[in-house]
Amino acid sequence: MPASVGWVWLVVLLPLLGFLANGAISFIKPDAKGAVSAIGVGVLAAAFGVSVAVVSGLAGAAHDAPFIVTLWEWMPVGAFHIDLAFQVDQLSAVMLLVITGVGTLIHIFSTGYMSEDPSYPRYFAYLNLFIFFMLILVLGSSFPVMFIGWEGVGLCSYLLIGFWFSEKANADAGKKAFIMNRIGDFGFLIAMFMIFGATGSLSFVEVFEAAPATLALGGTTVTLITLALFLGCTGKSAQIPLYTWLPDAMAGPTPVSALIHAATMVTAGVYLVARSNILFALAPISSTVVAGIGGLTALFAATIAMKQWDIKKVLAYSTVSQLGFMFVGVGVGAYAAGVFHLVTHAFFKALLFLGAGSVIHALHHAYHHTGSHEDAQDMRNMGGLKKFMPWTAGVMWIATLAIAGIPGFSGFFSKDEILAQAFARGHDVPFFYVVWGMGAVAALMTAFYMTRMMIYTFHGPNRTGEKEGSHLHEVSWVMTGPLVILAIGSLFGGFLNLPAVLPGAGWLHHWLEPITEGSAAFVGEVHLAHNTEWILLGLATVIAVVGILGAYRLLKPQNLVPAKDATPETGMQKVLLNKYYVDEIYDAVVVKPLMWLSRAILWKTVDEKAIDGAAVNGSANITRFAGWFGTRFQTGRVGTYVFFFVVGALVLLRTMVR
């Protein structure tokens, strides 16, 4: 093992130390913001530095097998034995760089964005803790160790969504996120039990090595295992049916949305499928489900994003939709393509969220100056902001072109790769043509709603308010700096994995081959004819251009009025704005009946009336009654005693005479 790889534990330890230090500061000296920033950003930057060393050590190593760095024995129980250990390989290396790299930028941005928050140390403590768990998630060398990170990031997400917990809506959103994630985690747990039952181990190396021999291709066991794992993914990565927590998660500070709810945590499900690719490759039915759910989610979330007014909600549904694309990738068996989109998405979506954060920050400031209580996230209160915030507008346009899929930008290559792979594999699995179709339509909508967001935010007349206008200005360099770096990533990230028809193609694909080669035997390598590939590339370009131009021609930002003057939506518009009422449906079908069952039936009826009332206190009452009945004979009156004596004597006599 290269020496630098052995240092991987330091990557994990650094953010933990940051959490402990900042957590302590939040109690001892909450106004020490300088120290908090230095620690919070410092540990991340250091972790990024160590990560680079670890990954270069890995890249320089001769053999491809994963490196296992064992810390200590965790759960030794008879035949079952799990160490607390990290696995450094090509897949975790990609994730390591994304998490610490994008994470560092978002930490820097946060020092500006959160600078006036009274709970500044607590914020950075949580953020460091999140990075700690996220690193465990991607570095864990077994399902249970990964699960520590998996639930840990959920905890941090819960804490950060509800960061401003004095608002009930925020606390509600945090709790909802945690519980919906737990529904997914239930699947993850069941999958672990089944995997252990089938292979006798839970460590990645052993399970994936044993899988092809012990699990029959397409067998029930492996299908159930992968479906249960995917249930976990739908929770963590906000796919149908468990996606509804993610839009609500926007209640947290915007850099949190960028870090956790766009770039890193929500992609954990994609990572899990890519990590377990051999299992999914052995289960064609599950893979089809993954691709189908992914395509459906991509399309469904895109329709909702078309009609949102809250800039963060647009981006939230966009994230749900883009995660759908990634699942299409890993679902059709193009694991590297899914990971590729994960990486480019981390750049442009983090950029979009941070840019939106800058805008919100600016509007918030302006409203704060005039004492107004307008919504700083509603796009109807924006417009024409490019005049005030040229840097933000510029970099966000780069990200928009990237996500829309304009050739040359990163999102073009990664999204096209996924759709091309889906199309190519449609030859074997015709359903993938349908998935490809859903993806193509979703891509068109993506270009449209992103352009809509940009036009409404940065172009046309300004609708912030007469007095507020003069207070709008670009945010400070600690916030624009990270944006510029992310913009560079959004521009050039595509070169990581160029299409096969271009020179220098498929670098990331080759890098990940040690991870995916085990499954290659089952899903196969698919090569499109060059003609078809060029046609698909052309089609993708047309889709992006049509979406952007369509939005540009159809939308009339000059007709918009500020949110407080707007007339309520009607018809289909209203249904979309209310996200198809899925929250309300879940509430009516699941939450309310469950509460009723628990309170009225189980507690008040079964527990209090039946068990405690009838059985327990009932038996006490019978005893009491027996006692009372007995005392009736002890009246102290001679007449009564004589009466019973005579009756008794007669009964006795009767029995003896007979």
């Binding site: 030794p76 008879g78 840990g152 509800g162 917990f165 509600d172 252990f196 628990s598 309170r599 059985a615």
Partner: protein
Amino acid sequence: MSELLLSIGYERWVIDALIAIPLFTAAVVTLGPDRLAREITLAGTLLEFVVSIGLWWAYDPSTAAMQFQMAREWIPQWGIAYRVGIDGISLFMILLTTFTMPLAVLGSWNYIKDKWRPYYALLLILTAALIGVFVALDLFLFYVFWEVMLIPMYFIIGVWGGPNKLYAAIKFFIYTFVGSLLMLVAILTIYSKIGAATGIYSFSYGHILANIGHVSHLAGWLFFAFALAFAIKVPVFPFHTWLPDAHVQAPTAGSVILAGILLKMGAYGFLRFALPLFPSIVLDPTVVSIVVTLGVIGIIYGALVAMVQPDFKKLVAYSSVSHLGFVMLGIWSLTVASVEGAILIMINHGISTGALFFLAGMLYERRHTREIADFGGIARVVPGLAVILTLVSLSSIGLPGTNGFIGEFLVLLGSFDQHPVATIIATSGVIFAAAYLLWALQRMLFNKLDNPANEKMSDLSLREYLVLGPLVACIIWIGVYPAPILRRIESSAEALVLQVRGEIPDIAGPDLPGVEIE
């Protein structure tokens, strides 16, 4: 460390000391001045803890045999003796008891306002009885400790409890007593039948275990009598309704001991007596499916009922029903992992639920209410309490990295092969656990600070940090590095599983070595 302990003859006197120290301290408290009762009790329980901690090193994890064994004559003509010993199952029950007691004393410091001498003396007698239950290797001795434990608890609830204390105390007493009387009948039956068959009348656990075959024709009835006593104590659904009343009415330390230790006596009883003595019944598929079903019902039912409780203490009480359901599932799945997991949950539940009851008590001392709705937004006012309450709740819902996860995970992992459907249903309990605790947390700690009475609450005092600190440390420690604990449990758990499954003859050996009392 173990050489040092050996040099002072630790293994010969440790059990005696663990029973004698609290009793002696109780005598001092009773005779001493009222104003020093708390300090004396704290000193006594701390000494007890220090003495017990040597077990960690002195205990040999490589064997399943009883260790630190000791036997003395008591009533020789009836074959009753003071026979005691410790194995991997009882080891941590003892450490949990000695660990909890000083905290319980500290937690009662200001909560108990009157009649210190009797209160602390009862607490100490309770300690001795609990240790006795976990070390007894003589069925008569076990029964005596089992019943002795009831009396101090009855008074602690009945005298120092809440508004409805008498109802709760009497219910607790009668409910438990009904079960244990049946157990007494069973013990006497076993004693006389085996005595008649072998000619040796003895209550010795080893003797009875070796000759239990002589009562095999009665095994069903005998098992039922034991199981009922233990099931009430656990408590297994539907024998649980004494628990919410007792927990809510008891003073803080009473609730902590009830939940932390007393409930474990039921599960311990299954592990020590009901399973090894009646393997034929325990392996009967019908019996197994009934008990496993009741356990799983307990998990889901306890969680759902906990979810809708307006009283925080009652919520925690019902959550115990849920946690102990996992214990039952683990014990009855009879795999090494599931049994070890069950024992670990017993430890974890003592730590986490103990901490939750302490926190409920601390909130009550500040606001004189336990209604969840009376709080709200207090994280701003009492951040220290909020952080610890959150952490403890996370342990209770089994978040990986905390102790709660390890136990539940091992139980479920070990049970899945045996009872897949039951395990899947049980696993869904993790969702409900998150629901009831996070919802309660939100309504207490988060949301708007809208009740003016909450604005002046004071954060935790040093004494309260001293109570909660050790519990929090255990939560993290067991979550991150449970291996040393698991290794100490493993041999005994494995031996139990093999013995019940008939793969090795018995666990305790024929009888206590070097002890001739028949």
